[in-house]
């Protein structure tokens, strides 16, 4: 199998996507068993278990698995330290299971400690690999520029746009998001440990807002913005947009993290500053997606891409709720409405691409290999979109009103959406995909014979 940029074989990322989807289904099933947790306190063990099944199990594992392929492609550089992937991803998957089990069983220390440690090790392995790959790409480019006697150009453009250009904003954003993700899980691990270790608790406190800012915004918002910049542009055939927005978005997220650190460890009343910075970051992401769509050549949007775009409707909802002081409902809108919905759309596209690479690339893009769109079951797409989007909306209402009816509706819809997502992933990974008939050539050459 030929994979561009020296990316590893697709087995590891595909396995990560499959396990991640199982985690999403497990979270939805857990909610179906006890929908009332949605309107309950945020510190309830079952709710924390479900949250971590989604964040560490689904989002983090999807993100980490995708990086194994996306980063080498973005940087046009072989993945550095390739042995870290097979170490990091299984460790993250096992760690996620441990963390979820620890919360679900009422904060049991052993699974929480083992799970938190494994997840931290896994994510630091992924972050180290991403950082090393990024630095390798910078060195390679600097070397090329020196060899060509020209300074590296500061500017935007694809990774292959010229030998002297630095890695673009999307790649830098992805690596930053990976480091923030590892920091998030490690901080969570330390917070859990602090509940048993008074000395650690005295030093660390319980910086839950910092944990949330690092994870939801530093890791996932930035990760989706950075990955989406490349992926959305490819899937809608957009001519792209300046990298300024993603670069500023990255700085805003840095600012929000620093602001939260000052609040957590310096006692400064900087929460309002954090909210303002995050609102600005969300607004920039909306502008980025709108700009990519305006520059697109492909008018018709495929269902998974539509789902990714629909997720952005939840960003202003989350922002409005956050400003209104309804932080739990804002978190629900951001997590289930934006992050899960956006990830589920891109996950289907990424799984199709990776499976095509693994199963059909050797046959070549000629000779009847299926098209990517032929690898999914179209009937499942509306179920995923309606289930996950409707479930997220109902969950926000349930969180706001503590209403039992909204909780049940949310649980049913999310279970349907997650199950359909799992079925679609299974179809893509394991299904028999029909062959495409050979096209009728219509080329008329401009022929110059000498």
């Amino acid at each position: 199998m030929t994979v561009p940029g020296g990316a590893p074989r697709a087995v590891l990322p595909l396995a990560s996507l499959a396990v991640a989807t199982l985690a999403l289904v497990a979270a939805a099933a857990g909610l179906a068993l006890d929908p009332s947790v949605l309107g309950g306190p945020a510190s309830a063990p079952v709710l924390l278990a479900l949250l971590h099944a989604v964040t560490v199990g689904y989002l983090a594992l999807t993100f980490a698995g995708t990086l194994q392929q996306l980063l080498p492609v973005l940087l046009v550089t072989p993945l550095a330290l390739p042995w870290l992937g097979p170490l990091g991803l299984p460790s993250l998957a096992l760690g996620a299971a441990g963390v979820v089990a620890g919360f679900a069983t009422g904060f049991r220390p052993v699974p929480l400690a083992v799970g938190g440690a494994l997840a931290s090790v896994g994510l630091w392995a992924v972050a180290a690999q991403a950082l090393a790959t990024y630095l390798r790409a910078r060195r390679t480019r600097a070397g090329r520029a020196t060899a060509a006697h020209e300074p590296p150009a500061v500017g935007e453009g694809g990774a292959e746009a010229g030998p002297a250009r630095p890695p673009d904003a999307a790649a830098a954003g992805l690596v930053t998001a990976t480091v923030y993700l590892a920091l998030t899980v490690t901080l969570g691990f330390l917070m859990a440990a602090a509940t048993r270790l008074p000395r650690l608790a005295g030093t660390l406190g319980f910086p839950v807002q910092l944990h949330l800012t690092l994870g939801l915004f530093g890791a996932f918002l930035l990760g989706i913005a950075a990955a989406g910049r490349k992926l959305l542009a490819m899937f809608v055939l957009s001519k792209g947009a300046p990298g300024t927005r993603v670069r500023i978005l990255t700085y805003l997220v840095h600012g929000a993290v620093v602001s939260e650190m000052l609040a957590a460890f310096g006692g400064l009343p900087s929460r309002a500053v954090t909210i303002a910075l995050l609102a600005a970051a969300g607004t920039l992401q909306l502008g980025e997606v709108a700009a990519l769509l305006r520059a697109r050549l492909r008018r018709r949007l495929e269902p998974p891409v539509f789902r990714y775009l629909l997720a952005h409707a939840f960003l202003p909802v989350a922002g409005g709720l956050l400003v209104a002081g309804r932080s739990q409902a804002a978190g629900t809108a951001l997590l289930l409405g934006y992050l899960v919905l956006a990830t589920s759309g891109m996950q289907v596209k990424i799984a199709s691409f990776l499976t095509w690479q693994a199963r059909y690339a050797a046959r070549g893009a000629a000779n009847g290999a299926p098209l990517l769109r032929d690898m999914i079951r179209p009937g499942l797409e509306p179920v995923i979109t309606v289930g996950l989007a409707g479930g997220a909306a109902a969950a926000v209402v349930a969180t706001l009103t503590s209403g039992s009816a909204a909780s049940v509706v949310a649980a049913v819809l999310l279970a349907a959406g997650a199950s359909a997502q799992l079925a679609q992933t299974g179809v893509v990974l394991l299904g028999r995909h029909g062959s495409r008939p050979s096209p009728r050539p219509r080329a008329v050459p401009r022929k110059e014979t000498s």
């Binding site: 292959e160 691409f353 000779n367």
Partner: protein, 109 residues
């Protein structure tokens, strides 16, 4: 934009080469690479065929597969020996390079 074909001497059939290239399809867009205007030039010197082509976007993850498919498909032709596929970014691909059929397929013609 149709590719420019330079043929020197007897060897591979230019028409067959173009036909074979039009059988290589971008699996994401479902349009062949000739209709997309991705093939810039084809140089045929006896049994040696050199293709200069581009992609719709730099960093396209499918570039390895598409270039390999071009190489594999042309190698199957009678009279073709060595096949060289070069990816170039200058001139950059623009939508103007697409055929009318490709524009319609993408929904913006």
């Amino acid at each position: 934009m149709n590719p420019t074909v330079h043929a020197i001497g007897a060897g591979a059939d230019p028409e067959a080469v173009l036909t074979a290239l039009a059988e290589v399809v971008d699996p994401e867009l479902a349009i062949d690479i000739v209709s997309l205007g991705l093939v810039y030039t084809v140089q045929i010197a006896g049994a040696a065929v050199a293709v200069e082509m581009t992609l719709t976007t730099p960093g396209c993850p499918l570039h390895g597969s598409i270039a390999e498919a071009v190489r594999a498909r042309l190698s199957q032709l009678d009279g073709v020996g060595a096949v060289d596929v070069s990816l170039v970014w200058d001139p950059p691909w623009t939508p103007d390079a697409m055929s009318e059929r490709a524009r319609q397929a993408l929904g913006f013609a």
